[in-house]
């Protein structure tokens, strides 16, 4: 037995097949192409089936990881997807975008001596298998309770709440402001990381389960929060996301050719502008592109610009490589695709021509000083180090704040000083009776899986309220 365990620990991790960088940097197809059945079963065989699984601890929604993996080794994909669904309503999404390296895989025992079990790749495999070969049989749904819940926002948080509550027998309606559901999964994350067909398939699954999804509903404009209660909803969940783009507020920022990452990615991903002129929405095709910021959104923007035919794409970040907030996997992919990194550099102003079009960006070199409030070392400008960078497109990916559209029209919803909604971290309850909130509108920009975790907690709390009272 010990020998078998040792073998598992030293067997290398199945490599995820990927499109080669020189090919994928100019197309929008998915970069990782997915395990074969043989690879999946081989990788699943590396799992030690720990009695005290650290991986489960590391998962924000508590997926029964040894459980679903064990079912793969038995060849029972249907059993495996059902196991996954009991905790995670969007496994095809999470398998692709979760930062497994700091969650499940980061806690994996096999990873202590060798490569962690590729939990994310396996989750993706099972979800894709079900979508392509599955029976389509739905998980069970409890008896109708007659209670109605409005979920505002069809991003990962809202979709999780909808999935959990519809299965508990409640009547759920998801209200989405955009013309397509999915929230950041559709407008933010690019096609080459998360194909939209998968997101729509996950939404269709929720609709089959009984949830209603209504697009073009801007809560706070088309209908107010209080009107939802007047319409007969018993509870409301707010999963509206962060959605307020941050700009640098330096001179020249309104020149043509400077876009927030939200705008750039919404054109590319939601409006599919990478297909222009087959679609009507255009997107600037920069030849010398600069992306400000170094989080996942910055990587997504840079890799999109490369695919749209840029000659050069440069990430400009004021701190160093170690402080870059993006997932290592995304930085690695960006590196391979030829994106350059200008670290310890910050812009001071933008320059344009007489028509108001961007032609360049003046920068300053930085050095790192003592840690600031975020715990990261503070960038300090180096005097006299100004230099010019030629560019015709700048994408500002320096974070997003709380969009005030809904909160402005709901005065009894308490906000913190940054405009995010105050919600109990364990239940998601806000200060307004019958209203819960979770995801980026509570925490600030974070991840898909954390939004889902918040949705899970809120769904439980909402269910308790509808059953037992506030």
């Amino acid at each position: 037995m010990a020998e078998k365990t040792e073998t598992k620990k030293t067997t290398p991790r199945q490599a995820m097949p990927e499109q080669k960088p020189e090919i994928r940097r100019r197309n929008f197809q998915e970069v990782p192409t997915g395990y074969t059945l043989e690879q999946a079963m081989a990788e699943a065989g590396r799992c030690l089936q720990c009695k005290k699984p650290g991986c489960v601890e590391g998962c924000p929604v508590g997926v029964d990881i040894p459980g679903f993996i064990n079912l793969i080794t038995k060849g029972d994909m249907t059993g495996s997807i059902r196991n996954l669904w009991s905790k995670n309503s969007l496994p095809a999404v999470c398998g692709r975008v979760c930062p497994q390296e700091i969650q499940c895989e980061g806690y994996c025992i096999v990873g202590k001596k060798g490569d962690a079990v590729a939990i994310g790749n396996l989750e993706r495999f099972v979800a894709d298998y079900e979508r392509m070969h599955g029976t389509g049989e739905l998980p069970p749904r409890d008896k109708p309770t007659g209670k109605k819940i409005a979920v505002v926002g069809s991003g990962p948080s809202g979709l999780t709440v909808a999935g959990d509550l519809v299965r508990k027998g409640h009547e759920v309606t998801v209200l989405e402001a955009f013309h397509k559901p999915g929230g950041v999964l559709v407008y933010g994350i690019p096609e080459f990381r998360l194909p939209k067909e998968i997101v729509f398939s996950e939404v269709a699954f929720l609709e089959k389960l009984g949830a209603k999804v209504e697009c073009n509903q801007v809560v706070g404009r088309t209908v107010s929060l209080d009107e939802l209660f007047e319409e007969g909803y018993d509870a409301v969940y707010l999963g509206v996301g962060a959605g307020l783009p941050k700009f640098m507020n330096i001179p020249g920022e309104n020149l043509i050719g400077i876009l927030s990452a939200n705008e750039y990615l919404t054109r590319a991903n939601l409006m599919k502008a990478y297909l222009f002129p087959k679609v009507d929405t255009p997107i600037p095709l920069g030849k010398n592109v600069v992306v400000l910021g170094a989080g996942n959104v910055a990587m997504d923007s840079a890799r999109t610009a490369m695919r749209l035919g840029a000659d050069s794409v440069r990430i400009v970040y004021r701190r160093s490589r170690d402080e870059m907030p993006a997932r290592k996997a995304e930085i690695h992919h960006a590196d391979e695709e030829g994106i350059e990194f200008f670290l310890l550099t910050a812009p001071t102003r933008f320059i344009g021509d007489e028509k108001g079009r961007l032609t360049g960006m003046e920068c300053l070199k930085m050095e790192l000083g003592e840690p600031d409030a975020s715990g990261r070392r503070r960038p300090i400008p180096i005097k006299g180090s100004e230099f010019m960078m030629d560019c015709d497109l700048v994408i500002v990916a320096v974070g997003a704040g709380a969009n005030p559209l809904l909160t402005q029209t709901t005065p009894d919803l308490t906000l913190n000083k940054w405009g995010y909604i105050n919600a109990d971290p364990e239940t998601g309850k806000t200060t307004k009776k019958g209203v819960w909130a979770g995801g980026d509108i509570v925490t600030g920009s974070a991840t898909v899986i954390l939004a889902m975790g918040a949705g899970r907690k809120a769904a439980d709390s909402i269910h308790n309220y509808l059953t037992w009272g506030w």
Partner: protein
Amino acid sequence: MFKIVQRKEMAGGTIVLNEIEAPLIAKKAKPGQFVILKANEAGERIPLTMADTNPEKGTLTIIYMVVGKSTALFKSLKVGESYQDVIGPLGKPTHLEKVGTVVCVGGGTGIAVLHPITRGLKEIGNNVISIIGARSKDILILEDEMKAASHKLHVCTDDGSYGHHGFVTEVLKQVLEKEDVKLAVAIGPVPMMKFVSKLTKDFNVPTMVSLNPIMVDGTGMCGGCRVSVGGETKFACVDGPEFDGHKVDFDELMRRLQAYCEDEKKCYNDYCTLQQA
């Protein structure tokens, strides 16, 4: 959903009116607010300020000039056909206050947006003087409606084919000199709003304009519609679309409106070629 229940062509077909079924929006919308429309799956999301709403009937009305592919596509929709998506009401409603004598200045299709605001200002008891202008008589719209919504209406045409021969600013100057105007509202092409604001500034008359930058989402999440107002960056879709005309950087707005002019020209040419084939 979003079915066209009435359709009218004006100004030789260059300006189109669509009355669209959108009960939730019609119920909520106030003068000055806009909607975002998308004709079909591949279509753009474009903003158009509402010309009118009928909450009982559950409809809203837009009046637009055909200037490119998206508006040409909208024009091709017949009565009974539907827009794929209509989102609203967006933007802050016009602040309507009784101040005394107000001057409402409209140019081109801006008159369609001006009309409900003019009506609103008259209804709350202001003395309303309106000035509307167009390049020529055949593209002047809503004259009768504006007459009904005002106590006095002046009409201008650039080519002199109707009314005063000249720009709205010429008539405006005379009105400002004669009357004790407390508020001006100007809606029309950007140069028109710019020059009206310049003129009213000399007379110290507070002026409201309705801006029309390029937009994508309309809910404040992308910043594409940002405009400089008093040296600060504002989003026209959530902070506007109305702003203090004396503080708006109109030149920057005019430049930013050209951001996609090459793509727009190509797209429109391809569409027209296809239609003719």
